[in-house]
């Protein structure tokens, strides 16, 4: 065990995979000598050489198209999109090309590409750096979307993503990069990609969240516990697929559900979770399912960020409303 920040856990995961599989390649903008603008790939080029870890020209569509081509030649590319807000540049190469390759070749060609990218608000970035665009990729058949909420999961889920033969969008939470530290096992371990995680058990209410909102939800659970309310918190971990078995089981246990996302309320991951529970477990519920999300504006200007992002206070208020519903 070693204490690692969220981003150190990611670097460590990348190192294990560069070591264990010589077909893995890391590339993108500034990932080489500079070690990434957040240092996620720090030291990897020096350790593994420019053939395995390299900078590319500055073009997101090019980076993903390159990945598909390399995968066709037997490589296991791990490209980086420097900020997920830049993904619009690469949407055809992701949703029109990469994600369809296995399907359109009759299941004969796998493209094991893991696209890493930071996302999420709270760090006062310029425009197009913090948007929660996960629903856009989670609605593409053939793509997996993974969103770790802590260092242990970040490392284990990244290793699983790289080893998996499907294309994965691996979304790293920008705010958690350095603000969160935890004990992380050394060496290789996997966290399953299809499994949500009950991070806290409870019996009165289930809060379902992912990425940074898991930590906000845990704060609420701790606060309510002091008042004798037992709150279960489920971390989705994967947004595509969503582990409906775990969330339905939890809903049937607590009978009250709140779903939390940082993204806007518009068609999104929370809507999908609400739908699954509605279809599969509505008769087990004692209250309408609640939903916390950001308002339906474009991601706000930096100074207004704190007023816009859903936080523990918003979650707590909604949680109380659901708990009190009769």
């Amino acid at each position: 065990m070693a204490t690692m920040s969220y981003i150190q856990a990611i670097t460590d995961a990348l190192r294990t995979q560069l070591k264990s599989d010589d077909k893995t390649l890391i590339f993108g903008e500034d990932v080489g000598k500079n070690g990434g603008v957040f240092r996620a790939t720090d030291g990897l080029q020096a350790e593994f050489g420019e053939d395995r870890v390299f900078d590319t020209p500055l073009a997101e569509s090019g980076i993903i198209g390159l990945s598909t081509g390399l995968a066709l030649q037997g490589f296991r590319p791990i490209p980086e999109i420097q900020f997920f807000g830049f993904v619009f540049e690469a949407m055809d190469q992701i949703a029109g090309q990469l994600s369809r390759t296995r399907y359109r070749t009759n299941g004969t060609v796998n493209v094991p590409v893991t696209i890493r990218s930071p996302f999420g608000g709270g760090t006062h970035t310029p425009e197009m750096h913090a948007d929660s665009l996960e629903a856009m990729v989670a609605s593409v058949p053939g793509l997996r979307v993974v969103t770790p909420s802590n260092p242990y999961d970040a490392k284990g889920l990244l290793i699983s993503s790289i080893k998996n033969n499907d294309p994965v969008i691996f979304l790293e939470n920008l705010k958690l990069y350095r603000s969160m530290k935890a004990d992380v096992p050394e060496g290789e371990y996997e966290v399953p990609l299809d499994k949500a995680n009950v991070v806290r058990e409870g019996s009165d209410l289930t809060i379902i969240a992912y990425s940074a909102e898991v930590n906000e939800s845990l704060k609420v659970a701790e606060k309510l516990e002091k008042e004798g309310k037992s709150v279960e918190v489920v971390d989705l971990r994967s947004l595509a697929p969503i582990d409906f078995e775990t969330i339905v089981k939890s809903a049937e246990k607590t009978h009250r559900v709140l779903v939390v996302q940082e993204a806007q309320r518009l068609a999104g991951v929370a809507s999908k979770v609400v739908s699954e529970i509605s279809e599969r477990a509505i008769l087990a519920l004692d209250a309408p399912i609640g939903r916390i999300s950001a308002p339906d504006t474009i991601y706000p200007f930096g100074l207004a960020e704190d007023d816009w992002l859903p936080n523990a206070d918003d979650i707590e208020a909604k949680a109380r409303e659901i708990l009190e519903f009769n």
Binding site: G62, G69, L70, G74, G96, Q97, T101, N106, T108, F244
Partner: protein, 370 residues
Amino acid sequence: MSEVKFVDFVAKKNELQEKVEPLQVVNGKGEIVNQAVFDKYSDEDLVKFMKLMVWERTLHQRSNALTRQGRLGFYAPTEGQEASGMGSQLAFKSTDFMLPAYRDIPQLIQHGLPIWKAFLWSRGHVLGNDYTDENVQALAPQIIIGAQYIETAGVALGLKKNKTKDTVAFTYTGDGGTSQGDFYEGINFAGAFQVPAVFFIQNNGYAISVPRHVQTAAVTLAQKGMAAGIPYVQVDGMDFLAVYETAKAAREYAAAGNGPVLIETLTFRFGPHTNAGDDPKRYRSPEEEQPWFDNDPLIRYRKILTDKGLWSEEIEASYVDEVKDEIKAAIKKADEAPKQKISEFLENVFEVPTPEVAEQIKAFKAKEAK
């Protein structure tokens, strides 16, 4: 104070307008304009080249008819582009990796895809894209204009990293494709990484209805290679030998580790964009079309070969019959393809079906069993 010009943009613009003559071996009148290159090829070679063009023309004619009869689905006519398509593809080995677009089906077939599978692709059947049995080194035809250019850079980088000997990636787009960002990103990545790739622009004058001059102010499309730092050339796309000779040199150059090449072939699509309702009369005049029809690559090579006593109407007719039989057999085989199942499509989405997909597979299997 006198007018001292530090930089003269008018002069610079004029420099950019300088006309380039495309490479040629046999001109539109069927005259040999490069005897040294022409003499490199034997009579057998010339017959082989002629047959390839007649093969593509016949495939086109039959595909056209089969589409009208409802026996094929999507079809993008290739008539007029035989020298460009066949002349380029012939320069490559079956171990080279091809990334075709939807009008490049004849090249894909010559690269190893059985005609019956090409027909299945046209009809909309997944087996048309399953290349495992024949080990065709290609990606299924691209629909999104230009996207294949980047993937080509990736495949070629993979070949380079794997140190695969004497192997290149090659791809095609049209004149419209050169306006896409992916076109530029593809040639630029290929140049930056110095990968073994050959990029073809088959400039047939129109992107559906939009003429070449609307796409760009550049005098040639080939010169776009200059910005990426890769060698480029424009070639007469109605001249089989010019295309073949250029493609061969490009392949040799790329395979030797020198980096990528960009080739523009000047050609013309005699027919519509696709058989789904496009009418070229809406955007092309007969005055514009006629010189291109006269410039038919088959006409000029028929003349050369006939003069040499290598070709005749009878030889051509008998070869066309052979090709027609081949196509007939392919249609028959395509007709035998199994009905597609949605449950199988679902199985192809992920390597291991996710729980939700597994639920859907179960539901569709139950439906399909009825």
